[in-house]
Symmetry: C2
Subunit: 569 residues, 2 copies
């Protein structure tokens, strides 16, 4: 039955089986509880399947792990094995992995341990740290499907390139040089163009904190895996929110750096070559310190010597110090965006914003209303750039296997449209630059509204209208993609969790459009109960050092403020 | 005859008359000698029409002018008046100006003098320095035609925008804040897409050193004006060589910074919105010290707060110091490109390259043959990007008045072609990135060829196959535009002058193509005698500090080496 083996269903099934069978039998779960039985599978639930030592290791922050492996207190091998085990459990609970390569990882870890034994020193700043990667990174020994059935057994959809299972993305090389241990690749939605994670190979990746909800996307596997502490830190990509959304939905910090800061070279992508708004790569983790560690480690590899789109901007100690000085010695000024003029955030998101404002004000900082140029204009420009090719790239990828498009992207890509002309693309590029200029001058103008003598230091804004999307209900990206069109540095900051008693439906809600009504209607306190709620902290272009410093400060202030009151955390 | 007044010829004539009449009568020349009578109108010739004091001022380097105006030794007014006079002469000799605004400049200069009188200190790092601008900069009080008849009495071809003669480009504001005095805008070819300077308003701008030849383009007016010392320093733009070419053809230094280093915001442009290869803005002057002064002054204005495409990269003292340390303490390694595989440089250019190699070797430096990935590939990618719109933008601009296209651009744009599709543009963007990556890795690989432990520190290459183009004979841009597709920092470095006795025709020349034969055939020792010959010194992306340091060193070494031998300078 040679022809039968070529159906996309068959190919997808073979691949799915291979993924699941790559998990060692001793780590397989006999059964998975239903959502009703166990809505939240993080923390105590997943820990039931781990040894005390494994729990200790996997509950440790990335920075502390590296400290231990760099002093020979923990071996890279034991750390790696613990995370392989916990990642295996995470995958069984949420469908968050596309590839595992535990044996190779353990071999790599052993080599690091040998290095340590010989030199009594770490090999690099990430010595022995397991790092998970979104399934856009090419790693030797495994393939990259990016969720496309048609990419199975190929290199980005092509056969016989000589790169299959051999080629490595630039950042993969740099992570290895820094001492990181690579062990798994995480799930994505095919096309990468949705805030949910679903494809025809692994199906749907759920939110481990509240399995009624999406884990986010497109770096959704990263979000779910790290939330379950199956990884201490990992890398995603973001062209409209794809790092920050899964970070927010999973209670993590996630940094969207500006274009040209971290190396994207040699990664698989969707609609590659569209260069109005570039996808960027950035880290997700439980702490800002971990994000900083990863960014600093990569920059110490001088990625600009190997990625033509990377700017020669090393980690700027001085920018970081300036930010820290501002934090410690003077009043900060924040702009708060409560509503973007299009879609009203759900009650838990509004409460999270209020909590941040209240916390900042209590600490003596200034918070002004953020009233920027129309976000609708920015939205139209970015959506324009996402559809230049009328869906050609995505349709071509799906056609390779004949698989159907997931419903989540059918609104934008379901019908193949005419391609944009060069003149139309140029006009959109000009519109983008003009919008960026206006936004920038608005930001500059806030010097007149603050008492600090400076324009606002950062913006606080929702990341999405909801704490997390309900399956197939991610219908609005304006809160996240606005900072992609502006190319601003932005970091997801966890704030609270949905509390059905506090976050009741907004009975005085007056929709400003059908879409506004539709999205607000998705809020259900019962269903959402327990879900993570986050905001984003936004800086100007290429301000990664500042944004991390401010995010760490704000995130900590919220925790401390919550510890004092009755806690929703 | 209302309709008659609308012909492009009439509009052009009115504008031309206005330009010429803007030159004060007392500064008008009674007659201009023929080329046969006076091939070279620089230096002694133009000085005949100036006072001793004017000569002293205008023969002074920009850095030294600022030193004098910043100490109250010279007033901004006397400096400005001297340059207004000399610029007026330069224009009459070569057709190098599109706009003059001497009265406004003198008023500005007086205000600077008042400031100095009051504060006993300069207003900024360019206090009282006249700076000329290519006619893409918008300056209040005057218009920007960019050589298009259809742009006369409009803002970039549009009427009633409210920006006409009011709007100023970002860099104009920053130059004013730094204390520069703006007084004229210089000629360009319409469309900006040629290495000669010609349009239907002012006609052809000639090379003042050898009026048989082109002054270069598209910043050709800058080149001619600065060569005649009608300006101490000015700004041009470069998308395929347009700063470096007129610098080279006029014996000047000219820096093409990488994209995002200096503010292009608010300037008129051709095919705006094409963002595969962006035009960049950069300085031209007689010395590297002057280029450095301008770049540093602009960066001190933090242009990234007002130009969304500008990177937050201040002047990096440390990068400059590293370069200077390398120069003073150790051996440098250069890659020398003698031939790009397509077009054979004329004998004077080959001699200039040999002179540089010889000089560097004598000083103990290493020079290796530069054997990079095919330049033909890079050439095809950049030409692809220049023709995305099939000529629509240029045809639209010409159609505004009905003026004809200059012959220099008809090869590329004469026939309007179909616009490229989004997919085609994406494919070209990918090809560019892949090419950049290959070139970068080739550069990295030269660490194996040098004895310094480093890859080569810079490349030395021709800027054009000829010392300067003969009118309507600029037929090949591969030597300059290759560094635009790579986005490398590059600086034109003057080397020598054509000597008809030494630079005889190459009798052993074997053409490798019809085009190669055609271009080599243009060389005529008699006609070229006396013309400037330059090379370019190329660094990686965003290495402006290094490239300036190395260019200064190499330029000086050549002069010193020439002083010892019989001089061709």
């Amino acid at each position: 039955m040679a022809t039968e083996t070529l159906t996309w269903q068959h190919l997808a099934k073979v691949k799915l089986d291979a993924i699941n069978e790559s998990i060692p039998e001793r780590w397989r779960l006999a059964s998975i509880p239903s959502i009703g039985e166990q809505r939240d599978v993080t923390g105590p639930f997943i820990c039931k399947f781990l040894s005390t030592e494994e729990i200790e290791i996997t509950e440790t922050d990335a920075v502390d792990i590296v400290e231990k492996t760099s002093q020979g207190i923990w071996t890279a091998e034991e750390v790696t094995k613990s995370f392989c085990h916990r990642a295996s459990l995470a995958h069984q609970l949420t469908n968050c992995l596309h590839e595992t390569f535990f044996e190779a990882a353990i071999e790599d870890a052993k080599r690091l341990d040998e290095y340590y034994a010989q030199h009594k020193a770490p090999i690099g700043p990430l010595h022995g740290l397991p790092v998970s990667l979104k399934d856009q990174f090419h790693v030797k020994g495994v393939e990259t499907t990016m969720g496309y059935v048609g990419w199975i057994n190929t290199f980005q959809g092509k056969k016989g390139t000589g790169k299959e299972k051999v080629f490595e993305s630039e950042m993969v090389k740099e992570l290895r040089l820094s001492g990181a241990v690579l062990y798994c690749k995480t799930s994505v939605p095919h096309s990468l163009m949705t805030g949910e994670t679903v494809n025809n190979i692994i199906g749907y990746t759920t939110n481990p904190k509240n399995r009624n909800l999406a884990c986010g996307g497109s770096s959704g596997g990263e979000g779910a895996l790290i939330a379950l502490k199956g990884s201490p830190a990992g890398f995603g990509t973001d062209i409209g929110g794809s790092i920050r959304i899964p970070a927010a939905f999973n209670g993590l910090y996630g940094l969207r750096p500006s274009t040209g800061r971290l190396p994207y070279e040699g990664m698989a992508n969707s609609m590659d070559g569209q260069n109005t708004v570039l996808s960027v790569v950035g880290p997700l983790s439980h702490s800002v310190a971990s994000l900083r560690l990863l960014v600093k480690s990569l920059l110490s590899q001088e990625p600009w010597l190997h990625d033509p789109l990377c700017n020669e901007i090393p980690w700027r100690q001085d920018q970081e110090k300036q930010a820290l000085d501002l934090i410690s010695s003077s009043k900060l000024a924040f702009g708060i965006l409560k509503h973007d003029g299009a879609i009203t955030p759900h009650p838990p998101v509004q409460r999270a914003l209020d909590m941040v404002v209240e916390t900042l004000k209590k600490l003596g900082h200034e918070v002004i209303e953020w009233d920027p140029p129309s976000h609708k204009r920015g939205y139209d420009i970015i959506v324009g750039s996402w559809t230049y090719d009328g869906g050609a790239d995505i349709h071509n990828a799906l056609r390779l296997s004949g698989e159907p498009m997931v419903s989540q992207i059918s609104g934008m890509y379901g019908k193949k449209r005419e391609e944009a002309s060069a003149s139309k693309i140029s006009a959109n590029n000009i519109a983008q630059r003009e919008y960026q200029k206006e936004y920038m001058e608005y930001w500059n103008s806030t010097v007149r509204l603050t008492s600090t003598g400076r324009p606002v230091d950062a913006i606080i804004a929702p990341l999405a209208p909801f704490a997390a999307a309900r399956p197939d209900r991610y219908k609005y990206y304006g809160y996240s993609n606005i900072y992609n069109i502006l190319d601003y540095t932005s970091c997801a900051v966890p704030v609270t969790k949905v509390d059905k008693e506090v976050d009741v439906k907004n009975t005085s809600f007056k929709p400003i459009s059908e879409q506004d009504k539709d999205i607000q209607g998705d809020y259900d306190p019962e269903l959402y109960d327990g879900a993570h709620v986050a905001v984003q902290l936004v800086g100007r272009r290429l301000q990664e050092e500042r944004v991390l410093a401010f995010s760490e400060y704000v995130g900590r202030a919220i925790i401390e403020s919550n510890d004092i009151r009755s806690s929703h955390l």
